[in-house]
Amino acid sequence: MAEFLDDRQAKLSSFRKNILKRPVSSDPTAIPEGIFVQCEGCQASIYQKTLDERDGVCPQCGYHMKISAEKRLSILLDKKSFSELDEGLISLNPLGMPDYEKKLEAARRTALMNDAFLGGTGSIDQMAVAIGVLDASFMMGSMGSVVGERVTRLVEHATAHSLPLILFSASGGARMQEGILSLMQMIKTSAALGRFHEQGGLYISVLTNPTTGGVAASFATLGDINIAEKSSLIGFAGPRVIKQTIQQDLPEGFQTETFQLHHGMVDLVLERKDIRPVLVRLLKWHRKEGSLR
């Protein structure tokens, strides 16, 4: 009886929170926010639930929408295998940049993360890995001191425990609000990868939409195997900056995942659903102890 009541209470409070507090629209035909989303590829309106079930891939055109770091891990990892590392690190405002705290607070609320990186250990098809994911919904997945430190610590953890390392990038680059300190995170993360590389560790980098700037010019391109996900913008300088500099239009398909494949920067381009099976194969081929079976 008591259980039933508790359950009822919870349902009621959730109803109050989600339904009653929804802002009343004056336009009777307006679609409540969050039920439909617009595809960035074909602009079709897609039912949010359908998109979730399809892991963020548009049912109309196959465009791969950005997904959260949490969603990414849930697609890849064995159930309940994830254990987060260094989740308590939070960004400060070392340069005293105006409004940075406010932006961080807003990002924490929308992304429900402490910063733009989620990383730790887990397993894929029973094979232990160190894995980290950047989340573009947190300040464009930009790398400041926290992201740099967490990536570096994860690489060091993989080095110390001889684990394969997998990093998913989705980032506009170094975080402007931490200035030169963000820039230096490029050296820090690449340096740690240098040591991991020296020790013979396997590093698989998966570049997703978007991977540009300081993240592209540091850990994201340094994989033993670089995989690009479909529908990704990948490059060093942003298309707008390039256009401004050279004063001419950019060619069709510039800086797409296919462009990177044709120019030899990535080993392969994969659809989201194919990433896990390919990771499984790669991990098996790189297993340290003996048999491939």
Binding site: M184, M186, K188, A217, G238, T245, I246
Partner: protein, 274 residues
């Protein structure tokens, strides 16, 4: 951290980019008179935004890796692409630095660039990867590396040869994540507010010394755009002292302390319950 005035900071930005400011070519001619330029990345081409080669300094052979903006004439600036390197430039730099490691020569890097070139060819040939590879490899090179920021230390383009055991900035130089104009266009959606942005960015040598990103500021007296001699003397003195100190260190210790120095850069908090 010390607080610098807007005018003071903007003056630094202007002096760092001053048309009469001596570039790497002057430093090379003056401090390394027997310099022999070596060309090419052995893969694609020879990027004139980088000048690389060998020289004698303090009675020892050294390797020089310099970014060159071009001297006062427009032709020379165009030839050197205003110091904005392509991927082959970073690859040439890495090739020459690996050669230095093989022959146990210390490396001197001179930084002076608005940034790596943002263009179609640069993207096609992997600008991001070229810089990333330099970061990963420079940290491991088993030979001393001394870096001097001469004028502009522009973003990833500067960083690509910026991983040194000792890093110094000239008194009137800047080193930043982005140009103040670029930063202003992001922060204020208005590139003309670069002066305001420049103060916030902390890009002066004083700021970077306070942030433990560099180890020294080299004095210029009245400024290298007016009289290059005091600045050149300061570079000479710094290189001599640092190379002597670093050459005396066992290589394993050198590599450890280089790693440790960059490993600790960053400012963050820790939530109490984690």
């Amino acid at each position: 951290m010390r607080v610098l005035s807007e005018d003071y900071v903007w003056e630094k930005v202007k002096l760092a980019r001053h048309p009469k400011r001596p570039t790497s070519q002057t430093v090379i001619k003056t401090l390394f008179p027997d310099f022999l330029e070596l060309h090419g990345d052995r893969e694609y081409g020879d990027d004139p935004a980088f000048i690389t080669g060998l020289a004698t300094f303090a009675d020892r052979p050294i390797t020089v890796v310099a970014q060159e903006k071009g001297t006062s004439t427009t032709d020379d600036k165009i030839r050197h692409n205003f110091g904005m390197a392509h991927p082959e430039g970073y690859r040439k730099a890495l090739r020459i630095m690996r050669q230095a490691e093989k022959f146990h020569r210390p490396i001197v890097c001179l930084v002076d660039t608005p940034g790596a070139y943002p263009g179609i060819g640069a993207e096609e040939r992997g600008q991001a990867l070229a810089i990333a590879m330099n970061l990963r490899e420079m940290i491991r090179l088993r030979t001393p590396i001394v870096v001097v920021v001469l004028g502009e230390g522009g973003s990833g383009g500067a960083l690509g040869i910026g991983v040194g055991d000792s890093v110094a900035m000239m008194e009137n130089s800047i080193y930043s994540i982005l140009s103040p104009e670029g930063f202003a266009s992001i922060l204020y959606k208005d590139a003309s507010k670069a002066k305001e942005a420049a103060v916030l960015m902390k890009l002066t040598p004083e700021d970077l010394l306070d942030l433990n990103v560099i180890e020294a500021i080299l004095p210029e007296a009245e400024g290298m755009h007016l009289n290059p001699v005091p600045g050149l003397n300061a570079i000479h003195h710094y290189l001599k002292t640092e190379l002597e100190r670093l050459n005396a260190m066992p290589v394993s210790q050198l590599i450890e302390s280089r790693y440790a120095k960059f490993r600790k850069i960053g400012v963050f908090g820790q939530l109490p319950d984690h």
